[in-house]
């Protein structure tokens, strides 16, 4: 039986973490490679990097980060942000990332999903989805709408439809972020996660809202997610990944306990 995955997410800008993570001894560090090493040692099953670098001239800095991460940790990791072409994907994958993730770029240009899947295999292509709850309507029958620009722009695309469409186009995994829950630390959007995860045949990573190990257990059991993305709760050292995993294991959720 597969283990449920715990995946810390690191936001990177110009080669530095946007928010420092707390290390042993409460030292704040800003180097994404050191942060990745710390989470690898704590038992992270995978790591997600989001590059929020504004200008494309700075992309080389991220490629250098990817190369250094690949020499340091020996678990899968993915890179998202600013990937607009198959060539962008190739650079990131050849630098050592296992997967790339595309979000608004895929909404604007859906064939990018199939082109990526054809070039590198579906398992390399993660679809990032930013979703907001809305009134169900003829246009948005599921009551969940795709949003971009951090939730400021509504796209008129139904999230349920888009998840199925992306699977058909060849996406290998979905990272499903609830903009409503994101940053609240009050728990994941269980209903949304359950809806998407039980209706696609590719793994779903739940994202947004994690504050406690119980939240993670809920989304992995009731929400049927295959993996859980976490950020603040480990970056600020409220919990370590090992503590979260020990809790999950104790609650009957299969996790990887030896690394």
């Amino acid at each position: 039986m597969l283990s449920k995955r715990i995946i810390p997410c690191l936001d990177v800008r110009d080669g530095k973490l946007t928010k420092g993570i707390k290390f042993k001894g409460n030292i704040d560090i800003g180097d994404p490679v050191e942060a990745a090493r710390e989470y690898y040692e704590q038992g992270a099953d995978e790591i997600v990097f989001y590059d929020i670098t504004a200008s494309s001239d700075e992309r080389d800095i991220m490629i250098d980060v990817v190369k250094r991460v690949a020499e340091t940790i020996f678990i899968p990791f993915s890179v998202g942000g600013g990937i607009r072409t198959v060539e962008d994907m190739r650079r990131v994958i050849l630098s050592g990332a296992e997967k790339i993730s595309i979000n608004s770029e895929a909404l604007k240009n859906p064939p990018l999903i199939s082109e990526g899947a054809k070039a590198f295999g579906s398992q390399c292509v993660v679809l990032g989805m930013d979703v907001k709850k809305v009134e169900a309507s003829a246009k948005i029958p599921s009551g969940y709408e795709m949003v971009i620009h951090g939730g400021r722009v509504f796209t008129g695309v139904d999230a349920f439809w888009w998840a199925k469409e992306a699977e058909n186009l060849g996406a290998g995994e979905i990272c499903l972020n609830s903009i409503d829950a994101d940053g609240t630390q009050e728990g994941y959007e269980i209903k949304l996660t359950h809806l998407i995860s039980t209706n696609v045949n590719i793994p779903v990573i739940a994202s947004g809202g994690a504050g406690t190990p119980e939240h993670i257990k809920d989304v992995l059991t009731r929400g049927k997610a295959d993996a859980a993305l976490i950020a603040s709760m480990v970056h600020y050292r409220y919990y370590t990944i090992s503590e979260i995993k020990a809790y999950l294991q104790g609650s009957g959720v299969k996790t990887r306990m030896t690394w």
């Binding site: 597969l2 020996f74 050849l94 296992e98 030896t258």
Partner: protein
Amino acid sequence: MIGIIDYQAGNLTSVARALRYLGEPCLVSDDPKVLKQASRIIFPGVGAAGEAMANLRQTHLDQWIPEWVDKGKPILGICLGTQVIFEYSEENDAKCLGIIPGAVKRFPKDLQEDCMPLKIPHMGWNSVAFQKDHPVFRDIPDEAQFYFVHSYYPAPADDRLVIGWTDYGQLFCAALARRNLVAVQFHPEKSGRPGLQILANFCRWGGEDA
């Protein structure tokens, strides 16, 4: 020197990086003349069996790999590399190298666990129940897990070759060994410390049987 077989099937950089981390010199090549300088061979790969076989034929590696195996020198198959050493793969209906009797099969569509449908590919961390002691799998904790990404699984004709079984709605062969050949379906280069341990063990293994 470890030779890594390059046949345009991705993932080679991760294996090379893991070996570098372990301090093991390696060369990556699609040329038998270069690869024969190596003392042992890693046959990795991600992708589809049909295309992989076409690439291997083009570089004559389809003949060279079985010869290497016959010489008794150590070889480690990983993921797609493991699959193409069988006789046949259901993926692309591909005739493969035929080094190990058996076929590579697709996970059935109606795969279930506790009445819940299972997703395909089998992607993520899973346990491997090791059946016997083998030098390449030495010092691996019983509860260790390994990283898998695949929709097809190896089914050797002779179960006695199976070193490790994994459960994904059904049991399948995750690791096998026959004399100087060891092959795994998971990715040791992406499986943290236990995976690195397997690579390190392989680098010290002379190819003798368990």
